[in-house]
Subunit: 402 residues, 2 copies
Amino acid sequence: MADRLPDSLAETTDSKILLAVLDGVGDVPSGELGGRTPLQVAESPNLDRLAREGALGQHIPIEPGISPGSGPAHLALFGYDPVESCVGRGVLAAMGIGFDLREGDLAARINFCTLADDGSVSDRRAGRISTEKCRQLVEVLSRASVPGVKTFVNPVKEHRACVVFRGDNLSDAVDDTDPGVVGRRPRPVRATAEGAERSVEVVDSFLRQALDLLEGRQPANGILMRGFSTYRPFPSMEERFRLDAAAAALYPMYRGVASLVGMDLLEAGNSLEEEVSAAREAASSGRTFVFLHHKPTDSSGEDGDEAAKIAAVEVFDGALPDLLQAGFDVICVTGDHSTPCPMKQHSWHPVPVLIHGGPQRSGGSDAFSEREALTGALGTFYARQLMSLLLASAGKLRRFGA
Amino acid sequence: MADRLPDSLAETTDSKILLAVLDGVGDVPSGELGGRTPLQVAESPNLDRLAREGALGQHIPIEPGISPGSGPAHLALFGYDPVESCVGRGVLAAMGIGFDLREGDLAARINFCTLADDGSVSDRRAGRISTEKCRQLVEVLSRASVPGVKTFVNPVKEHRACVVFRGDNLSDAVDDTDPGVVGRRPRPVRATAEGAERSVEVVDSFLRQALDLLEGRQPANGILMRGFSTYRPFPSMEERFRLDAAAAALYPMYRGVASLVGMDLLEAGNSLEEEVSAAREAASSGRTFVFLHHKPTDSSGEDGDEAAKIAAVEVFDGALPDLLQAGFDVICVTGDHSTPCPMKQHSWHPVPVLIHGGPQRSGGSDAFSEREALTGALGTFYARQLMSLLLASAGKLRRFGA
């Protein structure tokens, strides 16, 4: 899995690396911003100073033209080949809530939904029920039992839950039941490849019982399942790169992917301030790698809200001085992918990378932006190669060969 | 074959892509042009406007330093790994004239030539006999018969013909008989690898009969054979990328390579104007991908004629407004490789790429040239990755992973 070179050369040192991910930060120029991007418009004196003192470049998340989901995009940033190590949403959801997955477990995301009398989906999120309500309904679903399989239903947040099936011969070649739109019936449980007969049987049995158990419980009288995926353990960042790694992330999805590569999950509260505190504490307690995740740059991009995206960058910039107090030797600020406001979705465009600390070819960049990144000293590289640059900058990679 | 990512993510949409290939368009600066390239000197207001509105970059045809033939260079542009899918000139020649190749067929290019009394080649093109004469001679050659094999001899153009052998166990590990220069005898039919004994036997038998049949028919009293290649069907662009693809190309070679990847061949007449009309008609009839080939940039490069190459760019630029009327959503202008005038041959130098349409990081380029392409927002990538960028720009690629 992934490139063997950094793995075989990595050595344990005390130096500390911070990887701060401004989710979806890359954008495209906008007419409303005078042909500039939110990153160009944002007042970000701290990022700009780091850009001047450090070096910029840009990463291609997967391959040119490929728009990644958050899972593969983050795995690439963590140094894992995003194609080989591609993992489904079910596993990420289960990891994100700290569920102790075992090899071969089949996991899926659940959305509570509202079904109309004719069986069609009238609300894919069941009116965004409260997390408390979600917990109660999960209790109800836990009565479902499939012979030969252990079933674990877990609340996630609001209308979101996840289920894990533990048993023999569970393939993840099972299609989503979520029709993706309202007004249609949930799709039947179907295999997407041969050898998934047992999984289809298990999931179908669970789903039928779930519908019986939820009957009459409007607005949450149904469930939609997606992201079927089986768990296989990954070599950890400790094993691969000799890093004592921890994650400060608020959303289960990102906690899940960090957990997948063996990062410890920090208590990061509910705000960027608390994430920053957690990162500082982690650094002072001797962690050698901290991943800090900042979501609003992505959510604002998905909303097409340029003002909000500018603000999201500025909020992060405002938190930087505090973060710099933590004493990281190498700081990297980047995104996992671009989420251009005009597109309102993840895109394939390269993502600016800033590395500060360690010996860099600095002096070539004036500000942290897509345009400056294009001509920065780090050049253009694949996201999965970033980790080697960080390890090298932090003096954690031995020379290759005699 | 090739990367599986765009294939697995491509979906059918109505958006239309134009890939306009200015064959051999890349060049190197010339002292006679004041240190500029033909592309820099050419007056091309339409290309420059598209460059300003869209984004530039450059592709490496195969690998740094590798100068490609037209076959692999075009296959790469079409999204096929040019090394894995490398195909010989024989197959391309047969495809180019519309011959219905079957899997396992062995094809080769034929040049009628003039042999001197001592058996050496005195003219590798038999005085460029007329296509009509070529047809007559092909009739004569069709009398040749090899037991156990069906032999199809076909005229191509002027002194060019091709032959297809259909039979069992035909390997293409057969060396060219063309000595490449005049004054030498044709080379004997030889295997280049084990397992080609049957092919050598078949080709040798055909060649001996051909020489008997052509005896005394000066200037075309001999043939030279090259580009031995067996046909294996390629997955089509429809299968791989869900594209309804068509080609407007005048020369058999390019029609052949387009045909190889399943493009339909448009009636493109004999001029750029007719190609443009064909492309417009294809777009209005619902085609979602049109390949348009412009040859004079390459021929002028091969001739070392800078003025002609400048003119060839300007002629294409003049045709652009008409082409833009076709309503393509994404327009890409690039070359298959560079053919620098000072070199008079194909080269390895990166080739400028222009993409107009779809969400681009525009605003960074002023003109369509090698220099501007180097610092363009698309960066530098391999030709085989271009198709992903075009599909993404046209909104034809789903997100990768959860």
